[in-house]
C-alpha cells in the first residue's frame, strides 16, 4: 500500500478544544505495546468512555456522535502539546484520519505526524473558526485538502498552507526520511572523520 498522500476530500470531525496534549490523544497506559498498530481504538480514550468502559460511550464527545465522520480531524490551537509519544500520531492515523487541521501545532507532534503520512495543515485562526462553524452547522460540509496546491477549501472559502518542499516531496511520493538518510551513508562517515 502506498503511503503517499495528496488530495483528501472528506467531511470532518470537529474538536474545538485548545491545548489538547498527547496524554489525552493516547493515555500513557496504552503505551505498553511494542508494535505501531492498533492504537486507533484507544484514541481519546478517557474523553470517549465513562470509567474506561467501551460499553459506556460519553454521548457528548464528538467521536461518539454519528453525525460527524470523515478523514479530516479539525482541532483548536496548540494541538499535540506535551509528551513526544509518536503513539499519538499512530492513534489518529489508525483511527482513519489522514489530515489534521489546526491553527497551531506543537513541534514534536507535527514532526511525528509528517513521519507517519498524517498531514498537519496549519490555517489562520480566522479560517479555523469559520471551518468549525461550518462543520457544526452542517456535518456534511465537504472539505478538500490538496497537498500539491498547498490549499484547503470548503464552501467557497480557500486558504493556502505552508510546508517545506522537501517534506512535500516526501509525502507526495511516499518517501521516508530514513531512506534519505541511508542514502547519505558516505557523507555521514566523512563527517564523522572530519571531526576533531
Amino acid at each position: 500500500m502506498s503511503k503517499a498522500i495528496n488530495i483528501v476530500k472528506s467531511t470532518a470531525v470537529p474538536l474545538n478544544i485548545e491545548n489538547i496534549d498527547t496524554d489525552q490523544i493516547i493515555p500513557a497506559r496504552f503505551l505498553k505495546a511494542t508494535s505501531r498498530e492498533g492504537f486507533g481504538k484507544n484514541l481519546f480514550r478517557d474523553w470517549r468512555y465513562i470509567n474506561d468502559d467501551e460499553n459506556q460511550p460519553k454521548k457528548d464527545f464528538v467521536l461518539n456522535n454519528p453525525s460527524y465522520k470523515g478523514k479530516i480531524l479539525v482541532v483548536a490551537r496548540n494541538f499535540g502539546c506535551g509528551s513526544s509519544r509518536e503513539h499519538a500520531a499512530w492513534a489518529i492515523k489508525d483511527y482513519g484520519f489522514d489530515v489534521v487541521v489546526s491553527s497551531f501545532f506543537a513541534d514534536i507532534f507535527k514532526n511525528n505526524a509528517l513521519n507517519n503520512f498524517l498531514l498537519p495543515v496549519t490555517v489562520s485562526e480566522d479560517f479555523l473558526q469559520k471551518l468549525f462553524a461550518a462543520i457544526e452547522s452542517d456535518p456534511n460540509t465537504e472539505i478538500e485538502v490538496s497537498l500539491e496546491n498547498q490549499s484547503i477549501r470548503f464552501n467557497g472559502n480557500e486558504e493556502k498552507f505552508e510546508i517545506n518542499s522537501y517534506k512535500k516531496t516526501c509525502l507526495l511520493n511516499g518517501y521516508d526520511d530514513i531512506d534519505y538518510l541511508l542514502s547519505m551513508k558516505h557523507e555521514i562517515e566523512a563527517f564523522e572523520e572530519s571531526r576533531p
Binding site: Q24, A33, D46, N78, S84, N112, N115, D176
Partner: protein
C-alpha cells in the same frame, strides 16, 4: 565573523548537510533510549535489515514502566514486563549499554545521563522523550524526538531537523526566600503560556540563572517543553565544569583541561540576535502552584484562580473544562485546599539536591494524617546517596515512603497511580487530565511547597515556615 548564539555555535558544528528549502541533516552525539518509545524503532530497523550504526553512542535504561517497590521481583504487569524484556533483548542484540533494573546506574534517563557525566557541553543529545531538554542545562542541544526519529538515529546517527527560531529568557536579580528553580520555570510558563515558546529553542540567561546549581538548572531546562519549546539551554560555566569533573564518563585528567578550554567558548556572543527576548525580574517570583490542566495555568501560592470574566471569550470553554476537571471554582484561592497525595520525584525534581531540600525542611516533623507521601528518587545513585546521608531516616520518621527509582506517578505507567478524584501535589512536570491516573487531579509545585503540603495536608505557603 558575525556574533553567534550558543545554540548556533553548537548547531553549525553538527550539520552534515543543509537541504535547500528543507531541514538540515544533523549529527547526533548521544542518544538515550528507554523501554516505551524504542521497541517500534528496533522493529523498524529489523524490517529494513539494518544494524545500529554507532552502538557506543547509545545508552539505555528502563524507567517509565518500572515498579518502585520490590524491583528485585519480576514486574507484575505483563505488558510492562514484556516491554522491559524487549529492551533487554534489543540492547543485547545491538550491543547497546543498558542500565536496566538491578544495575547500580539504573534510573530516569534524564537523571542518569548527567550524573554519569555522559551529558556534556557542546553535544547534540536526543531521546524519545520530550523532557530530553533537561540535558540542555550543560550547554548542549538536547531535545525529544518521536519513535520514527529514534529509528533514524539508530540507523544513521543523524536526524532531519529544521533550525528552530531562537528565544532568550533573561532572569535577573535575587530570588526571594522559599523560591527555588521550579518556581522560576512555573512562573515563566504562567507568563508566556503553555504554547508561548512553540517553534523556539530557548536559552536561559541572567544573574538568577547563573546563581543556580546544576540540579536547579536541569529543573528549568527540563520544563522548556511545557511552554512548547523544543529545548532549553544554559551556557556552561565553572558550576558546570565543577559538577562534571571526576564523573565516570566525563573527560579524564589528560583531556580535561583541553575540553574545558573548548567548553569555555560555548556562550552567546555580545550582539548575537534572538528572534524573541523576554526579561523576568527574579524578585517578582513567588512559590508557585498550578490550578488547571496545563502547566501554564499557574499562580503564586497565595494567589487567586482567575475569574471567568478575566478569561478571553475564545479560551473560556477550555478554562472552564479544566477547572471542572480539577473540582475548583474560578476566582477562589487555592491555599488551604486539602491534598491527598504528595509525589516528590520525576525527571524534574528527583535529584539528590531535591531530596536534601525536602529532608532539611521535614526533619523532626511528621506528615499530616490523611496524606500519603511518595518520594521516588531519580536513580539508584540518588537513592544510595540519600541513604548514605541519612535522609532515608528523616523520611521514615516523617512517615514518607522512600521508594525505588523510576518515572513513577509522573505519568502512572506503573502501579503508582493517583486514584480518581484525589488531589496530588506533585513535583513533576505535567498536570494534564489523567496524567497521574484516570481522573486524578494534579497541583504542580516545587519540592519545598510539596514538602510543606505533606506536613500540613493542604496547599500552604512555605514562606510562613521559614
Amino acid at each position: 565573523m558575525s556574533a553567534k548564539t550558543l545554540f548556533e555555535k553548537i548547531w553549525e558544528k553538527h550539520i552534515v548537510k543543509q537541504i535547500e528549502d528543507g531541514p538540515a541533516v544533523l549529527y547526533i552525539d548521544k542518544h538515550f533510549i528507554h523501554e516505551v518509545t524504542s521497541p517500534q524503532a528496533f522493529k523498524g530497523l529489523e524490517q529494513r535489515g539494518l544494524k545500529v550504526l554507532r552502538p557506543q553512542q547509545v545508552v539505555a535504561t528502563a524507567d517509565h514502566n518500572v515498579p518502585t517497590l520490590n524491583q528485585h521481583l519480576p514486574i507484575r504487569d505483563e505488558l510492562s514486563r514484556k516491554q522491559v524484556q524487549q529492551l533487554i533483548k534489543n540492547c543485547a542484540k545491538h550491543d547497546i549499554e543498558l542500565y536496566g533494573l538491578g544495575h547500580p546506574f539504573q534510573g530516569i534517563v534524564h537523571v542518569i545521563g548527567p550524573e554519569l557525566g555522559i551529558t556534556q557541553p557542546g553535544m547534540t543529545i536526543v531521546c524519545g522523550d520530550s523532557h530530553t531538554s533537561t540535558h540542555g542545562a550543560f550547554g548542549a542541544i538536547a531535545f525529544g524526538i518521536g519513535t520514527s526519529e529514534v529509528e533514524m538515529v539508530l540507523a544513521t546517527q543523524c536526524l532531519m531537523q529544521s533550525k528552530p527560531r531562537l528565544m532568550r529568557i533573561n532572569v535577573e536579580g535575587q530570588l526571594n526566600k522559599g523560591v527555588v528553580s521550579k518556581d522560576i520555570i512555573l512562573y515563566i510558563i504562567s507568563q508566556i503560556s503553555a504554547s508561548g515558546a512553540t517553534g523556539y529553542f530557548v536559552e536561559y540567561a541572567g544573574s538568577a540563572i547563573r546563581s543556580l546549581s546544576m540540579e536547579a538548572r536541569m529543573t528549568i531546562c527540563n520544563m522548556s517543553i511545557e511552554m512548547g519549546a523544543r529545548g532549553g539551554m544554559i551556557a556552561p560555566d565553572q558550576v558546570t565544569f565543577d559538577y562534571l569533573k571526576g564523573r565516570l564518563f566525563a573527560p579524564g585528567n589528560s583531556l580535561w583541561d583541553k575540553k574545558v578550554e573548548a567548553w569555555k567558548q560555548l556562550y552567546t556572543d555580545e550582539g548575537a540576535k534572538f528572534d524573541k527576548e523576554i526579561f523576568i525580574d527574579a524578585a517578582k517570583i513567588e512559590p508557585m502552584i498550578t490550578y488547571g490542566t496545563n502547566p501554564g495555568m499557574g499562580i503564586g501560592v497565595n494567589g487567586t484562580i482567575p475569574k471567568e470574566s478575566e478569561i478571553d471569550e475564545k479560551e473560556k470553554p477550555s478554562f472552564l473544562k479544566s477547572l471542572n476537571y480539577m473540582g475548583l471554582e474560578p476566582g477562589t484561592k487555592i491555599k488551604g485546599k486539602k491534598v491527598d497525595y504528595v509525589f516528590i520525584g520525576s525527571c524534574t525534581n528527583s535529584r539528590i539536591e531535591d531530596l536534601r531540600m525536602v529532608a532539611s525542611f521535614v526533619k523532626g516533623k511528621k506528615k499530616a494524617k490523611d496524606v500519603e507521601v511518595w518520594i521516588v528518587p531519580g536513580s539508584k545513585q540518588v537513592e544510595s546517596q540519600a541513604r548514605e546521608e541519612g535522609i532515608d531516616k528523616i523520611f521514615a520518621e516523617a512517615g514518607f515512603q522512600l521508594r525505588q527509582p523510576g518515572c513513577s506517578a509522573c505519568l502512572g505507567m506503573n502501579e503508582d497511580k493517583i486514584p480518581a478524584g484525589k488531589y496530588c501535589i506533585s513535583t513533576s512536570n505535567r498536570n494534564f487530565e489523567g496524567r497521574q491516573g484516570p481522573n486524578a487531579r494534579t497541583f504542580l509545585a516545587s519540592p519545598l511547597t510539596a514538602a510543606v503540603a505533606a506536613i500540613t495536608g493542604e496547599v500552604a505557603d512555605v514562606r510562613e515556615w521559614l
